[in-house]
């Protein structure tokens, strides 16, 4: 009994922390905590990390899930059951509407105002096309713990010849 109420308090704190960190994230030890979901984890982490649902809005996730047959140049179709299951999970844990750049929901986290703001100041513009990075969507290239939701400064691994300005 005591253990379960402790757990509830813990999850509530996690939820609130996640919300604050995702929206404002002024912290150096940012963690994005996502509830466990086996089907999503398995299906959406085969070709890249399972991107945290908090980083896009529900309309964006709906648009992405509607286009899995031509998903960024690749075929990512899944069966109906898994599709419905994952969409429900993404909608439930989606971030706020502030994540959009325009009236049209963005299909990429890396095109949201939030992402651009978070990554423009300290990084040189040519960083995204360097061969060891390949793409801004390759979070793991710089955030070594991204697959665990760890975006802390301690987990940051930038290319060696790159110095970022401290703020």
């Amino acid at each position: 009994m005591r253990a379960s109420s402790l757990f509830q308090a813990y999850s509530r704190t996690l939820l609130i922390t996640t919300f604050i960190l995702t929206i404002s994230n002024a912290h150096a030890d940012t963690r994005i905590r996502t509830p466990k979901h086996a089907v999503w984890q398995q299906e959406c982490s085969a070709c890249h990390i399972a991107y945290p649902p908090q980083l896009l809005s529900a309309p964006s996730w709906r648009a992405i899930m509607n286009g899995l047959d031509q998903h960024f140049g690749t075929d990512a179709r899944i069966d109906q059951q898994a599709h419905a299951d994952i969409l429900r999970f993404l909608e439930k844990n989606a971030g706020s509407g502030e994540l959009s750049t325009s009236a049209k929901p963005p299909l990429r986290i890396t095109e949201t105002r939030w992402f651009i703001h978070e990554h423009s100041e300290e990084l040189p513009a040519d960083i995204w096309t360097r061969p060891e990075i390949k793409s801004p969507a390759n979070c793991m290239a710089c955030h070594s713990g991204a697959d665990r939701g760890d975006y802390s400064e301690a987990g940051l691994r930038l290319p060696q010849n790159l110095n970022i300005e401290e703020d």
């Binding site: 075929d75 793409s135 969507a137 290239a141």
Partner: protein, 133 residues
């Protein structure tokens, strides 16, 4: 009582796992190949090897993501994510689950060839992968 539970768990586990071996897949592809083409004469390792490395006049080959050496880890051509080796000798999980094998042949054949693979092609490439140690 404990025995019953253990037996039940074992039964459940083997049901959930649906484990098969790469050779089971090879046999199934042979049956399908025969149905697709009555003149089917068997699989060819050499043909599978060339097919694996070919871009078929398009952008990608199997090697683009699974490495030119299927015993080594590959890297997704767009995202850079590391993909475990495709050869069963190097990665015992490969070709043990029908749903997984079907799903990825469907997707990857579409990406590489722009059409589904034939049973002949699947059998050739699997025969090649099985020669890799």
């Amino acid at each position: 009582m404990r025995l019953i539970i253990t037996t039940a768990i074992t039964a459940l586990f083997s049901l959930a796992a649906q484990a098969e071996t790469p050779v089971d897949f090879q046999n199934r592809f042979a049956t399908q190949a025969q149905q697709e083409n009555p003149a089917f004469t068997g699989f060819s390792v050499e043909r599978g090897k060339q097919w694996y490395a070919s871009t078929h006049g398009r952008e990608w080959s199997c090697a683009s993501c699974h490495s030119s050496n299927p015993a080594a880890p590959g890297q997704h051509a767009t995202t850079g994510k590391v993909i475990g080796p495709l050869a069963p000798a190097a990665n015992p999980e490969r070709f043990t689950r029908a749903d997984k094998v079907e799903k990825w042949f469907k997707r990857n054949c579409n990406d590489v060839l722009g059409r589904p693979c034939t049973a002949q092609e699947k059998g050739d490439v699997l025969s090649y992968l099985l020669t890799i140690r």
